[in-house]
């Protein structure tokens, strides 16, 4: 059954590009929206369908060796949700029909890439679908084709190729020592004492590649430019889910299920995670561009996930998985807020604005919800994931890292307070008296995400016991 999440968008992609595509272009938005919602709702309501090993009814060629566990389910839900939000935003921000149609096609391709990345059980297949995701990302970033967008895409492509080279070399080494590229074969071969040198070299190269794709400090050079120079719908997609799937999720899957954690790897991951939390937040403090501030905030939040991964306990892994979901929701919401502000003021800078909460109440209130969730304030969902991460660190005896993770929330509060004060609070800035709330189509994704971040926070015990804590069981 999981094959459906690859084959269905692929079928839609082919149908949308059949010869009579002028008629199909009009239906394309609804087709893609249907698929994204289908994916999220099906995964959330009927996870057993994806767990079950029902034979695929599409013939042997389309029967893939895929595997879905609770961690994959969390990611599959997030992919559907963030893609849907990005799609809705594109309807109101990409005004050229041709450009919007190209975006829809690339969105379907990137969804195929991410879905497959989350479900594959073979390292080479993983690499192929990471490339599907990366290639679509380059093109999506450069969709506007202005100087900044091309520069952002170029930086991303160069650093991504470097990461790819490291990962590809690692795959060659894994193939050498295990004779196969399946996760099981590699896991078995890594235990062989004859191949210690090659194993360490391959693991090191692969993790370096993944750290570049995750945008962790000091491998973050591409991330702020790529996020801030993309069209708004693409920024939502990149910050909300793409980086998490192609970097953070793969890192979690490989480290926890294939490579295994040892003391040295734990120390490196926890140190880099902590460095990203603090430096990302400090860099965000100094930004004057809305989307750039959110980009550095992303680096800081991804740091929490990597820190939890480094801790390595079952509770920490569950916390990391929960933070992936929460970050996908509140970061997409913040980028949706940035889109609304830019649409109405024509300005991406946070300076010279003010008092917009009175003029744009939905945007103002939902941005407050996202900000409180990011800073880890109860009862929003961000509080629970950060709480679990800090608790897991404390239980593991990592008191210094737990304290830093806790105190870094103050930095998060600081940069978001600056953002709120400059954009939404206070008196209405001169020249903005005539500003009105954005249209319903752009309010909808903001309200949806705000309700989700509040709802998951309020019903956290239910989500934790049914979905999240089980994600920690992926530990071998």
């Amino acid at each position: 059954m999981p094959s459906l999440l690859i084959l269905l968008p692929l079928s839609f992609l082919i149908i949308l590009n059949l010869p009579f595509r002028d008629i199909l272009q009009r239906a394309s938005f609804w087709v893609v929206a249907f698929f994204c919602l289908f994916q999220s709702i099906a995964v959330a309501l009927h996870p057993f369908i994806f767990w079950s090993a029902l034979p695929d009814p599409y013939g042997p060629f389309f029967s893939f060796r895929l595997s879905v566990d609770n961690l994959s389910l969390i990611l599959l839900f997030s992919i559907g949700l963030v893609s849907f939000v990005s799609l809705v935003i594109s309807r109101y921000t990409l005004l050229d029909n041709k450009q919007r149609f190209n975006f829809l096609n690339l969105l379907l391709i990137i969804v195929i890439g991410m879905n497959a990345t989350v479900m594959v059980t073979d390292l080479f297949s993983l690499y192929v679908f990471l490339e599907v995701t990366s290639l679509s990302s380059f093109i999506l970033i450069s969709l506007k084709k202005d100087k900044l967008a091309l520069e952002g895409a170029f930086k991303y492509i160069i650093l991504s190729i470097t990461a790819t080279l490291a990962m590809l070399s690692a795959i060659a080494l894994f193939l050498l020592i295990s004779g196969d590229t399946s996760f099981v074969a590699i896991y078995g071969a890594l235990g062989n004492p004859q191949h210690v040198f090659f194993s360490k070299l391959a693991i090191g190269l692969f993790i370096c590649g993944l750290l570049v794709k995750s945008g962790i400090i000091p491998f973050h050079g591409w991330l702020p430019d790529a996020y801030s120079s993309s069209p708004n719908s693409v920024s939502v997609l990149l910050a909300g889910i793409v980086t998490k799937v192609s970097g953070v999720y793969v890192l979690m899957r490989m480290v926890v299920s294939v490579f295994g954690l040892n003391q040295a790897l734990q120390d490196i991951l926890m140190f880099l995670g902590c460095l990203s939390i603090v430096l990302g937040a400090l860099a965000a403090l100094g930004q004057t561009d809305f989307k750039r501030m959110l980009s550095y905030s992303s680096i800081s939040q991804i740091g929490y996930i990597v820190l939890a991964l480094g801790c390595g306990s079952s509770l920490a892994i569950a916390g990391a998985a929960f933070h992936i979901l929460n970050h996908a929701i509140f970061k997409s919401l913040l980028f949706a807020n940035a889109t609304a502000v830019e649409e109405k003021t024509g300005n991406g800078s946070i300076e010279g604005l003010g008092g917009l909460a009175a003029k744009m109440p939905f945007t103002g209130i939902t941005s407050l919800a996202a900000f409180l969730s990011t800073a880890g304030i109860p009862p929003f969902s961000g509080f629970w994931s950060k709480f679990i991460i800090v608790l897991a660190l404390w239980q593991a005896g990592q008191y210094t890292y737990a304290s830093i993770a806790l105190l870094a929330s103050v930095l998060t509060l600081a940069y978001f307070l600056i953002l709120q004060r400059n954009v939404f609070f206070g008196k209405v800035a001169s020249g903005l008296e005539g500003v009105r709330e954005v249209r319903v189509g752009l309010i909808f994704p903001q309200v949806l995400l705000a309700v989700l971040t509040l709802g998951i926070g309020l019903f956290a015990p239910f989500f934790l016991s049914n979905f999240i804590l089980a994600a920690g069981n992926i530990l071998k």
């Binding site: 690339l106 073979d122 297949s125 192929v128 679908f129 380059f138 093109i139 969709l143």
Partner: protein, 161 residues
Amino acid sequence: MAINIILLIALLLASLWTVMTIRLIRSVVGLAITSAILSIIMFKLDAPLAAVFELSVCAGLISVIFVTTISFTQRLTQERLKLRRKERMGKFWYLPLIICTAAILLSFWRPSLNFQFPAPLKETDARNILWNMRHLDLLGQVIVLLAGAFGVVILFKEEKR
């Protein structure tokens, strides 16, 4: 034996053309041809899995990514093209010489590597590998090509218009 020599010479010529040509697109084509020839050699050496990986990564995936990257660059003017051609020949005249010398030296010196690795896969039918064992990768590569096609349309074709 004769076919092996022909393949090796073809490999040498394709890789030299990849490095010597000044048009990036031609260079990408050269690299793809080099990879395709290398894949045939790997098949002949009973390493079908490595051959399939080589064919799909270098002749397929990497080429698409290179073409997309090239689409971000500017076309050279005729004058700069001439200048580059001269520079390129001046810079790399010694390459064929080094390759030939290295090939002769390596044919005499045979290093013994004592690493013990698992035996490679004994499947020799490329069709079985492509259609039954690595069919998900094959599908992934078709999707990469699709993404590349969209990239070319968006970045090249619309630019021309």
